[in-house]
């Protein structure tokens, strides 16, 4: 099983969720974060003092999927989250060694 960590632009959340649902993903966790990346670093002025805005609001998703579904999920995310402009986000994939559904105790792929 894989854990897909995807950072996206906030307004893309619904599209990404729909794209993932469409390929059979049935769960995810959504984090409101601030992202630092290529997009960051423009300067703003607050009360006359310049400062660089290093962090921009982003949504981070964590999605556990069966390994077999990982590529489809990545594809679903990239195609639905892409605007082509800087700051579209990153996807990182990690291995999950175990999964449990709290309600039932079901394990691994059954837990999803």
């Amino acid at each position: 099983m894989k854990l897909i960590i995807a950072t996206i632009k906030p307004f893309k959340l619904d599209e990404v969720r729909e794209a993932l649902s469409a390929i059979g993903v049935r769960g995810m966790s959504v984090h409101e974060i601030k992202g630092f990346g290529t997009q960051s670093g423009h300067t703003e002025i607050y009360r006359g003092a310049e400062y660089s805005v290093n962090f921009v609001p982003k949504i981070k998703l964590e999605i556990a999927v069966p390994s077999a579904m990982a590529d489809d999920a990545i594809e679903a995310i990239t195609s639905s989250a892409r605007t082509g402009k800087i700051g579209d986000g990153k996807i990182f994939v990690l291995d999950v060694t175990q999964a449990v559904r709290v309600r039932t105790g079901e394990m691994n792929e059954d837990a999803l």
Binding site: Y46, G48, A49, Y51
Partner: protein
């Protein structure tokens, strides 16, 4: 002959059945010039007293305005403490102004040192039902005057709390507030409004650009300097902005202050017993509003031009600076003059805020530009529209008040610093005063049960 006869007639009647209807109000001359005549003195008393009460509750509400403005402009980790300071300072001012301040400020004939140091005594109000009292029907009830004046005193302390926010210890701050509201503010206020030597000199300060706002501003300036800037505010020669945590509250606070200012300036007419007086209050309301608007618009335009984007916090400060600027003379200007006076106030803020930062004076909410600098400007601007004001007197009064407040408040700040300390320790400041000094957060967030 008829005239004389008529007058006699009246005199007789007055002695017998209409004792009040014909009491000569001090405004008589003025009122008659305006095409009207005397009012029944008791009616005038009710009008003026009620006007003080209405103005007073408006100025009271400024306490909420300051609290919201400051809570909105500090960082989230210091909000609960800023709220605590605001309600505590208002409450302490309410107590110490009656215990000491009011009679120091308005000694009447009871000066301890004539025209310089007022009376030391606890405030007493008129008896219930005026039973056995001889009220001054040409003015207003002592109770209403006390209530109104108290609110000015408390406002002075609120000004300070914003500038020294996010790093000052609660209790030393409150000790400062007590001394400010019971001694420092009342003494200098007695010089002008208590009929002291500044008044005798011909100093003009209608509603307190100097007596209230610059006093708060000087005390704030001394406090901010002695306290030093917040950790990390000025590092490596750069200014690090600490954005306010809640601009909705800051805007709300500004609107509440704006509202309260109608009482602040309007009530300072001190009389509403004639058509002329109420008409003057109307001028004051209109000018006050116009000046605030001009301050806001100026800050809007200037921040757009200078920084390419408008700065909401500057616009809020600009509106307040417009209000402070017109406060020394809200009556005589025309609407156009009020626009110019307020506009300059707004401009002062836009330039003074970064200037203070360059001087590494860390004023969290912009209290010093708004209340001190615009207060000085407003006091000077009186000479443009009020012939009774002379530039020399205005300037020397500004300096005298400034010197007195700087010396006295610095003494207090230093005494506190050397004894109990005025600044929280580094860890407290870093973690936020809310958790460290209060053990609670303003917005605990975590929505777990």
């Amino acid at each position: 002959m008829i005239t004389q006869n008529g007058n006699m007639e009246m005199t007789r009647l007055a002695k017998i059945a209409l004792p009040v209807a014909l009491v000569m109000a001090p405004q008589m001359g003025l009122a008659q010039e305006a095409g009207s005549t005397l009012l029944n003195a008791e009616i005038g008393f009710i009008f003026t007293t009620f006007m003080f009460l209405v103005s007073g509750f408006l100025v009271f509400f400024m306490a909420a305005g300051f609290a919201m403005l400051e809570a909105g402009l500090v960082r989230g980790k210091n909000v609960a403490m800023q709220l605590t300071k605001n309600i505590a300072l208002f409450s302490l001012a309410s107590l110490f102004f009656y215990i000491l301040g009011y009679n120091l400020m308005y000694p009447g004939d009871g000066w301890t040192i004539t025209n310089v140091l007022g009376a030391f005594s606890i405030t007493g109000l008129e008896p219930v039902g005026l039973e056995g009292a001889e009220p001054d029907l040409s003015y207003a009830s002592v109770g209403s005057d006390f209530f109104f004046q108290l609110m000015f005193c408390a406002a002075t302390a609120s000004i300070v709390s914003g500038a020294v926010a996010e790093r000052i210890k609660l209790w030393p701050f409150l000790v400062f507030v007590i001394l400010l509201t019971s001694v420092i503010y009342p003494i200098q206020a007695s010089w002008k409004w208590g009929g002291g030597f500044l008044d005798a000199m011909g100093f003009q300060d209608f509603a307190g650009s100097t007596v209230v706002h610059s006093v708060g501003g000087w005390a704030a300036l001394c406090g901010a300097i002695i306290l030093g800037p917040r950790l990390g505010k000025y590092k490596n020669g750069k200014v690090t902005p600490f954005p306010g945590s809640n601009l909705s509250l800051a805007t709300l606070g500004t609107f509440i202050l704006w509202l309260g200012w109608f009482g602040f300036n309007g009530g300072s007419q001190l009389y509403m017993d004639t058509a002329a007086n109420v008409s003057d209050i109307s001028r004051i309301f209109s000018n006050t509003n116009t000046s605030a608007a001009a301050g806001a618009v100026t800050a809007l335009i200037l921040t757009q031009l200078l920084y390419k984007k408008p700065d909401l916090t500057m616009i809020l400060n600009g509106a307040l600076a417009g209000l402070v600027s017109i406060t020394a003379e809200p009556l005589t200007p025309s609407l156009i003059s009020a626009t110019l006076i307020g506009g300059v106030g707004g401009a002062i803020v836009v330039f003074a805020v970064p200037m203070l930062d360059r001087l590494k004076i860390d004023d969290v909410v912009g209290a010093i530009p708004v209340h001190l600098f615009a207060g000085i400007w407003g006091t000077i601007a009186v000479v443009f529209t009020n012939d009774a004001a002379s530039l020399g007197t205005q300037l020397s009064s500004i300096l005298i008040v400034g010197a007195f407040v700087c010396v006295s408040s610095s003494v207090v700040w230093f005494a506190l610093k050397k004894t109990v300390g005025i600044r929280v320790d580094e860890e407290t400041e870093i973690n936020g005063l809310d958790m460290a000094e209060l053990g609670m957060e303003a917005y605990p967030g975590m929505n777990a049960a």
